[in-house]
Every structure is written in structure tokens, then in C-alpha cells.
């Protein structure tokens, strides 16, 4: 065994000399990193309000000082419109971090709770405490926001953090490594760059929580790896988020909000983006017309040239998306767009009407600028269609009908539900953001982020007095009577039992 180990290390060294990291070296690096951070964590430094506050403030500073640089990295990785990079990543992050700064003290206060007669006299509280050393694995689509937003929660809750940004957005990844290195306490907060090998090596280590944002396939791998160490996981996945469009609505506003959530957010490469629309056969033509009209208004006559649309992240995803359209039965259903340009990785906003329900595009999360519309006879029929699939991360409904709203909220299960808008719930710190079933588990944002990275420790204070002999052996019939009375909550029968007056 030892011999093999030594051999591996030697092999690792040789590879290192040749300038290439191998698996063993990556593993050794990961384990020594975690060991080092665990030692720092054990000093208890992260538990103090001061440390958490100073780190959060440093993060705000970092965002303020390097706003332009950050946005440029995002633009380089995704050709995101500068506006989107600044508004949906930097500004949103700053907002989230400022909220934590403002609320940290309040979040850290233990929650007093009432105790019952069975434990009288006593007092109790729930004390939030950090989980320990946590791992955040982030995706490429919002490479800055989705990296640091969970980190804010982890720091606020007093944890040490290792962040592994996606290798698919390399400019942001390396900027994150550089900035976190400059601004944060590096004995407790680190960035590890890399791909599958680095992630695998990190997942081998023991963490106190793993937060992963990405797809269900990798989510399963993350959770299985976490199981080895009994590590709880927060999985932010995706799914096919539907939009139900009723008739009798303000169509212009509805279409604009759908477009803003679909193409206006990273050109559909967003986990809560509308994936497909459900509407009635009668209403569909109107909706398609309105969408076309507003699309042109937003992105011009030739959207492939628009500066306000992100490109597809890379050629893999470009190929995946064009394949969805190439399917014979699908290409015939395109009613708008469908243009693409391989050299610039651009795909124009595309609308499909009634693509076959068993086609790939109607069964996989699209994660791109294609929007199928599925028609139904009655708008209520769409609820069954949604519920027959896996639970999505978000479900949207546009309607003026109060009853339909209520029915939708009650019967459609999704991570979050928004009526008459899209994506906006993400920016509401008072609402938990997270999925259910295939769209993930656990939630964050605002106070929920703090909770996601905290353990709620139950604390009960008792005095030495108030000992009920009924608790202790030797057990007798009288004790049984008293116990029943106590648990029954009947003071009178408890008193009777104490005096031996009970009848049974």
C-alpha cells in the first residue's frame, strides 16, 4: 500500500516537472488545502461577529473597486451585454452583500423559544452556529453572482469557504481567484480553479456543507460524494420552467416580461428562465405576434447583430441547441427566428409552435434562446401537463383571473411561483430561492442564505430544582398515572395522581 503511495507521489512529481498536474497531485493539493483551512477554522476566528463583518465589508469594497474589471471578465466569457453583467451580477451581488452587512447582527441573535410543562422550569433558545468548512461549486452562466452569492451566506454564518468557479468561464474564474486572494482572509477563504479533476479531488474531501449550482447529473455525483462523509448538500439545479399564459391579459406587458426573463437574461442560459409556454389554441397566434413585435423592438431586425443578446457559452452548447432544432419534426414548428451563426456562437431568439411533446426539446431543459409554445384546449389543462413532468425550479402564470391564480399556486409544485412576471422573485431577499425534487434541494438568498450555512443548535437551560421523581426508577403504577396526567397536560389529574387520588 505504502509502496503504491510512494510511487504515486513520485509519479506526481515527475508529471509536475513536466509541467502537467496529474490526478494524484491534484488530490494531494486538495487534501492539504482542506487540512490547512480546517486548522484555521479550529481557532474559532470565523465565529466572531467582527471577522464576518470585516470579510463582508471587504467583499463590498472588492465589488466597488473592480466593478468594470469584473463586468469585462463576464463579457469576455459570455459576450453578455455589459448592462446584464453590471446589473444582474455586480449590482445584485452588492445588494445581497449589503443586506448581509446590515442584517448580520440580527441574524446572529439566538431565537428564544417557549418551553412546556413537561420540562418546567426551564428556558430554551435556538443558537445559530457555523457548520465549519464549506465548499461552493459554481456554474458558468452567472459566473460572478452564483460564485459569490452563496459565499456571502457562508461567511455571514461564520464558515470557512472554498470556492470552485466553473472552468467554462475562465476569465471570471481567474479574476475571482485573483480578487479573493487580494481582498479576503486567505487563511479561511480560498478559490480553487480547475476542471473535472480538481472538482473530483475537492469532492473527495470532507466538508461540512456543499453548495452546488448546476445540473442534475452532476448534482447526483455531488450528493453521492457528500454521502461518504455525511455532508449535507444545497443543490441549485434547473428544470423546464413553464409559463402559462391566459387570455384577457395585458398582452404587451406579459410578452415584455416573458422576453426579459427568457432572452434578456443571458439569452435563455438561466436556471429560472422560461423554458416553454403553455397557452390556449385560440390565444396562441396573438401571443406569437406580440412576441415577434416586442422581440424586434428589443433586439432589432437582425438579432444576430444585437449587442443586447449574450452568445451561447461554447461550441458544445451551440451544437446541443442547434441539434434540438434540427430534429425533423421540430424544425417545421419554428414560427420565428431559428437563425444561427457558428463562428460567433450566436443563435437568434426562436419561437416554436406545438413542437411534438415527445421531442428532445420538450423533454430536456433547453437552456438557450429557444422558446416552444405548447397549445391546450383550456388553460386549466396546462396544470396537468406541468404536474406530469418533473418539478421545475420556477413556474410562471400570466392571468387576470383570480381563481386561476389561486388554483395555480395551490396545485403547481415548483421551487418558486411568480404570477404576472418572470424571474423577479430572485431579487426578493424575503423569499427563499431553491428547487424541489429534480430542481434541487435547500434554499438561499437573504436570511435563508445565513440559515443554509448554519446549524440551529437547540439549547435548553434547567436549574437543579424541579426534579420530578416520576422520571426515575424504580418504576411504579403511581408514577405511570402521574406521567399520563402530565403528558395529558391536565393539571388537575396530575395533582390527583400526586396525592394518590386517581381512580384508575
Amino acid at each position: 500500500m505504502l509502496f503504491v503511495r510512494v510511487l504515486n507521489i513520485v509519479a506526481a512529481r515527475i508529471m509536475a516537472i513536466e509541467g502537467e498536474k496529474n490526478v494524484y497531485e491534484v488530490e494531494i493539493e486538495a487534501s492539504s488545502l482542506v487540512k490547512e483551512i480546517r486548522e484555521s477554522y479550529a481557532t474559532g476566528k470565523t465565529r466572531s461577529y467582527e471577522w464576518r463583518m470585516s470579510q463582508l465589508q471587504r467583499l463590498v469594497q472588492m465589488l466597488e473597486h473592480h466593478e468594470q474589471e469584473i463586468a469585462e471578465a463576464i463579457v469576455a466569457d459570455l459576450s453578455k451585454p455589459m448592462f446584464e453583467a453590471l446589473a444582474y451580477e455586480v449590482a445584485m451581488l452588492k445588494n445581497s452583500c449589503s443586506l448581509a452587512v446590515k442584517k448580520l447582527k440580527q441574524w446572529m441573535v439566538p431565537e428564544k423559544v417557549k418551553t412546556s410543562i413537561t420540562t418546567f422550569p426551564s428556558s430554551a433558545e435556538i443558537v445559530p452556529e457555523p457548520l465549519g468548512v464549506v465548499l461552493v461549486i459554481s456554474p458558468w452562466n452567472y459566473p460572478f453572482l452564483l460564485s459569490l452569492d452563496p459565499v456571502i451566506g457562508a461567511i455571514a454564518a461564520g464558515n470557512a469557504v472554498v470556492l470552485k468557479p466553473s472552468e467554462v468561464s475562465p476569465a471570471t474564474s481567474s479574476l475571482l481567484a485573483k480578487l479573493v486572494g487580494e481582498y479576503m482572509d486567505n487563511s479561511l477563504i480560498r478559490v480553487v480553479e480547475g476542471g473535472v479533476a480538481e472538482t473530483t479531488a475537492l469532492l473527495e474531501q470532507k466538508w461540512d456543507k456543499i453548495c452546488y449550482t448546476g445540473n442534475g447529473r452532476v448534482g447526483r455525483i455531488v450528493m453521492a460524494a457528500a454521502a461518504k462523509h455525511l455532508t449535507p448538500v444545497l443543490l441549485e439545479l434547473g428544470g423546464k420552467s413553464p409559463v402559462v399564459v391566459d387570455s384577457g391579459i395585458n398582452l404587451q406587458v406579459a410578452t415584455r416580461r416573458i422576453i426579459a426573463g427568457k432572452w434578456g437574461c443571458n439569452n435563455g442560459q438561466t436556471c429560472v428562465a422560461p423554458d416553454y409556454i403553455l397557452t390556449t389554441k385560440d390565444f396562441a397566434p396573438k401571443l406569437v405576434d406580440a412576441l415577434k413585435h416586442e422581440l424586434e423592438h428589443f433586439f432589432g431586425e437582425n438579432p444576430l447583430d444585437s449587442k443586447d443578446l449574450s452568445r451561447i457559452v461554447n461550441s458544445n452548447h451551440f451544437a446541443r441547441l442547434t441539434k434540438l432544432l434540427d430534429e425533423d419534426r421540430v424544425s417545421g414548428t419554428i414560427v420565428h427566428g431559428g437563425k444561427s451563426e457558428k463562428s460567433t456562437l450566436k443563435i437568434s431568439p426562436t419561437i416554436l409552435l406545438d413542437a411534438p411533446r415527445d421531442s428532445l426539446i420538450m423533454n430536456e431543459e433547453i437552456f438557450g434562446p429557444l422558446l416552444p409554445i405548447l397549445t391546450v384546449e383550456k388553460v386549466e389543462d396546462s396544470f396537468d401537463i406541468i404536474n406530469s413532468g418533473t418539478k421545475p425550479l420556477a413556474a410562471y402564470l400570466f392571468t387576470s383571473n383570480k381563481k386561476l391564480k389561486e388554483q395555480f399556486v395551490m396545485t403547481v409544485s415548483a421551487g418558486g411561483v411568480v404570477i404576472n412576471d418572470t424571474v423577479l422573485h430572485l431579487s426578493v431577499a424575503g423569499l427563499p430561492f431553491g428547487g424541489v425534487q429534480e430542481s434541487g434541494m435547500g434554499a438561499y438568498h437573504g436570511k435563508f442564505s445565513f440559515d443554509a450555512f448554519s446549524h440551529k443548535k437547540a439549547v435548553l437551560y434547567r436549574s437543579f430544582a424541579g426534579d420530578a421523581p416520576v422520571r426515575y426508577p424504580p418504576y411504579t403504577k403511581g408514577k405511570l398515572r402521574l406521567m399520563k396526567a402530565l403528558i395529558g397536560g391536565s393539571i388537575l389529574s396530575a395533582i390527583f395522581a400526586l396525592f394518590g387520588l386517581s381512580k384508575d
Partner: protein, 480 residues
């Protein structure tokens, strides 16, 4: 189609019909459960006696009473729990309404354990029902009398198309774990906990793991003899009084200052005698070891010569009756198995230290326990324990009663598990908190939409800061 598939299909169908969502259904099931308990109390006493030799008082305190209390608490609070909670919405989105709406997860699996075969099966079931789920309850085969009682009786009282009971061993457990659940709630060992979570990962099923660990009791040198007596009584109650130490929140070992050890040992011996008489073997107040496997495991812990030498009280056992005498050990080696593994039996090691504050380092050098008990009047020590150690729960000056406190979440951290239940937390454990945001079509915030320009960017920046004055100035063209 196998039995499991058939049951699951039926449960899905029931759940999809929406029946389990109604308050009436949930309440009816809980009331039926209470009926079952009150009709069958004697039978339960008998089953618990057969499986574990529990005395009716112990059985009532730790099992029947717990179920009654939880079911009633849920019945009284369910509507409050089900009500949506308001989420604060920034003025910018006005008019809008935000709320968090709890909804059932779907079809859930509860895997219970043998040490409290009634309460650890029915208490999570109460949570699952309160939250409106369809449930499969898999009972532990190690407590056969309770298992067969529940398997036979629950279907007579509960809605069989929404709640199913399975008996059997690891093979049945494994088969159940192959299927897709919307939640798995497991009580047991960390070894099996890992298997459960690995299986759950395949279907992205969230899990609650209620595991164990070595729960320490820190005993400060108490000057008042009556405090000392109360403390020792509570330690004895938590070591031998609850299923003979076979309890996940039982005291595993005691930490005490060296000069206090003889007082402690004397008092422990006296209390044991008072509770269980001269001959504890003949006491009816003592539960027995669950089975031969665990009996041997416990006896092996004592066989290490260095450990055997450290026994200061008890140590005898009777294989035929699966009885192990209440046993006290003084400073067994810290690297011996008895100090590295969860004991889960009637053996109590006492570890002496020079200063009581050192107990914090000892606790922190091990994995996080499910509970820490500390007997002290020293407020500084209390604060230090709270701030510097980590555990599922902390109880000052008592033991085990955190289990009865419905207002506190019950659950572990680190190796003692994750997720929690009891009271409202049981409801939350089996619910998904759905975020709901409702908006109207009016008014529209134009800068949300492309084509982008610098005005829109300025607007969004101010909006994120909720700088309404700035927004106003910008809109009036007064802000640069």
C-alpha cells in the same frame, strides 16, 4: 410488478389525487393514531417488554407519551403551520405580494430504529402526515414484536392507500431505497446513514439523518450537595434509565475534574442502588440489551484488558437474559474502542481532567455529538461551551428532556446527522417552502427591458439600492 412497486404506484396515485393535502385528512389520520394508542396501550406495553424488557413507566415516558404529545401538538397547530408566511417585498415592486407557502413533498419513506420502536416510527410519521404526504414506514426487524404490532395495527386505523407499513430486514430496506422518494427520513447508525444518502443521491432525494454519537456529560465541581444529587440522578437517568443506554441522546461518558471523581463515583453507585436495588438483574425497571449481536459487541468493549482494569462498578453480564449490569469505568484508555465508538449500552466511562474547561478540547477533538450535557452554575463556562463546541443540542443541568421540548429542533450536526424534527420542525422537514410572488400588470418599469443604455443601468443601480429619491431625480432628468 413487485409489492413495493404496487404500493408505490398506489401511494403516488393517492398523493396526486390531492386527498392528503386537505386539513381534514391530515387531522383524521392523527386522530386515528391517537385512537390506536389509547385502544392498544396494553398491547404496546407488552410488545415493548418483549422486545426490550421496558417497564410500562419507561414505555409510557419514552414512547407512548411522546407519540400522544406530538400528535396532539400537531393537531392543535397544524393550521397555523400550513398558513403561508409573508415575505417582505421591496416597494419598487409595488403592487406585489410575496409569501412562502408550505406544500407536501410527495411520497416519503420513514426508516425507523429498534431502540424506541414505537416513538421513532410514529413521531416522524406524525410529521409526514401533518405536512400532507403519503408515507411508507419501514420498521426495524430488531424489535420484532413492535414491528409486527405496528404492521398489523396501523392499517386498521390509517388510510391504507396513503400510508403503508413494511416489515423486514436489510433486504427490504435496500429494495425500498432503490425507488424514487420525495424525502427519506432515517433514524439509525452513521454507517447505514451513508448508504441511505448514497441511494437517495441517485434520485436527488433530500434526506434527514438522525444519527448518534458520543454525547458527553460535563460535570463541574458542584458545591451544593443537593445540586450534586440532582445532577447524578439526571446522569443515571440518561445512562441507564432510557433503554439501558441504548439511546442516541443518552449520556455516553462523563467528564469531571480529578479531585471530584470519588464523590461522583460514590453518588453514582448510591443512585444506581436506589433505582435498581441491590441486585439490578432482578429489577423490573431495567431494559435489556436488544439482541445477542449487541450484547456481544458491548461485552467485547469490556474485554480489552486495559478497559477491564478500569471498571470500578458492575461489569457482570448474563447472556441468557441479555442483561449487562450498570457498569462504571474510570479513565479507560482514550484510544480504546469504548472511547472511540458510540457505546449505546449500560457502560459509563468517567474521564478525569485537571480543569473542567479542558472538557471543551476533548469534545472538539471528536466528531460532533448529537447532544452535550453540562452541569454547572458557572455562567462563563456555559457561554464557553455554547460558543466553542458544536453539537445537535446543548442542555444545561439536565439530560434528555430536550427531546420533549416541541419548540426546539431535534437533530444532529456533522457525524450526528443533519436535518431536524419535532413540533413545527417535523412539519417543515416534510414540507417544501414554495416561494410565491404575485404581481399586477401595472405599473411597468421601463428600464428593465432592452435595448440597454446608460440611463437604464443607472436606474437599475439605484433600484437595487432602493434609493427612491435617486430614482425620482433620475426620472426627472435631474441626476447625472
Amino acid at each position: 410488478m413487485g409489492e413495493v412497486e404496487k404500493s408505490l404506484a398506489e401511494l403516488r396515485k393517492t398523493f396526486n389525487s390531492g386527498r392528503t393535502r386537505s386539513v381534514a385528512w391530515r387531522k383524521n389520520q392523527l386522530r386515528a393514531l391517537l385512537d390506536l394508542i389509547s385502544h392498544k396501550e396494553e398491547v404496546i406495553f407488552e410488545a415493548l417488554h418483549q422486545d426490550l424488557g421496558k417497564h410500562p413507566v419507561e414505555a409510557y415516558r419514552d414512547e407512548i407519551g411522546v407519540v400522544i404529545k406530538s400528535a396532539r401538538f400537531a393537531l392543535n397547530n397544524m393550521e397555523k403551520w400550513m398558513a403561508p408566511k409573508k415575505g417582505h417585498i421591496p416597494l419598487l415592486f409595488f403592487p406585489a405580494k410575496g409569501e412562502v407557502l408550505p406544500e407536501p413533498l410527495g411520497v416519503v419513506l420513514v426508516l425507523s430504529s429498534w431502540n424506541f420502536p414505537i416513538s421513532l416510527a410514529l413521531d416522524p410519521l406524525i410529521g409526514a402526515i401533518s405536512a400532507g404526504n403519503a408515507v411508507v414506514l419501514k420498521l426495524s426487524e430488531n424489535a420484532p414484536a413492535c414491528s409486527s404490532f405496528l404492521a398489523k395495527t396501523l392499517p386498521l386505523y390509517l388510510d391504507n392507500s396513503a400510508i403503508k407499513v413494511f416489515e423486514g430486514g436489510a433486504d427490504v430496506g435496500n429494495e425500498l431505497l432503490q425507488h424514487k422518494w420525495d424525502k427519506i427520513f432515517f433514524t439509525g447508525s452513521s454507517r447505514v446513514g451513508r448508504l441511505v444518502m448514497t441511494a437517495a443521491a441517485k434520485h436527488l432525494t433530500p434526506v434527514t439523518l438522525e444519527l448518534g454519537g458520543k454525547c458527553p456529560a460535563i460535570l463541574d465541581s458542584l458545591s451544593n450537595p443537593s445540586d450534586m444529587k440532582a445532577a447524578v440522578k439526571r446522569i443515571v437517568g440518561a445512562k441507564w434509565g432510557a433503554c439501558s443506554g441504548q439511546a442516541c441522546i443518552g449520556v455516553d461518558y462523563v467528564l469531571v475534574e480529578d479531585n471530584f471523581k470519588s464523590t461522583l463515583i460514590e453518588l453514582l453507585k448510591k443512585t444506581i442502588k436506589k433505582f435498581y436495588g441491590e441486585n439490578p438483574k432482578s429489577s423490573k425497571s431495567n431494559a435489556r440489551i436488544i439482541n445477542k449481536h449487541h450484547f456481544e459487541r458491548l461485552r467485547n468493549l469490556l474485554e480489552d484488558p486495559l478497559v477491564a482494569d478500569s471498571i470500578v462498578h458492575g461489569g457482570s453480564s448474563d447472556e441468557e437474559n441479555l442483561f449487562i449490569e450498570p457498569t462504571i469505568l474510570l479513565n479507560p484508555p482514550l484510544e480504546a474502542e469504548i472511547m472511540t465508538e458510540e457505546i449505546f449500552g449500560p457502560l459509563l466511562p468517567i474521564i478525569t481532567i485537571d480543569k473542567i474547561q479542558e472538557s471543551i478540547d476533548i469534545i472538539n477533538s471528536r466528531s460532533k455529538p448529537l447532544a452535550i450535557y453540562a452541569f454547572t452554575k458557572d455562567e462563563t463556562l456555559k457561554r464557553k461551551i455554547l460558543a466553542e463546541t458544536s453539537s445537535g443540542s446543548v442542555v444545561f443541568n439536565d439530560t434528555m428532556i430536550q427531546f420533549l421540548c416541541d419548540a426546539l429542533p431535534f437533530g444532529g450536526v456533522g457525524q450526528s446527522g443533519f436535518g431536524s424534527y419535532h413540533g413545527k420542525y417535523s412539519f417543515d422537514t416534510f414540507s417544501h417552502e414554495k416561494a410565491v410572488l404575485q404581481r399586477s400588470f401595472f405599473p411597468e418599469i421601463e428600464p428593465r427591458y432592452p435595448p440597454w443604455n446608460s440611463f437604464k443601468l443607472k436606474f437599475i443601480r439605484l433600484a437595487y439600492n432602493f434609493d427612491y429619491l435617486g430614482l425620482l431625480l433620475l426620472l426627472m432628468g435631474l441626476k447625472r
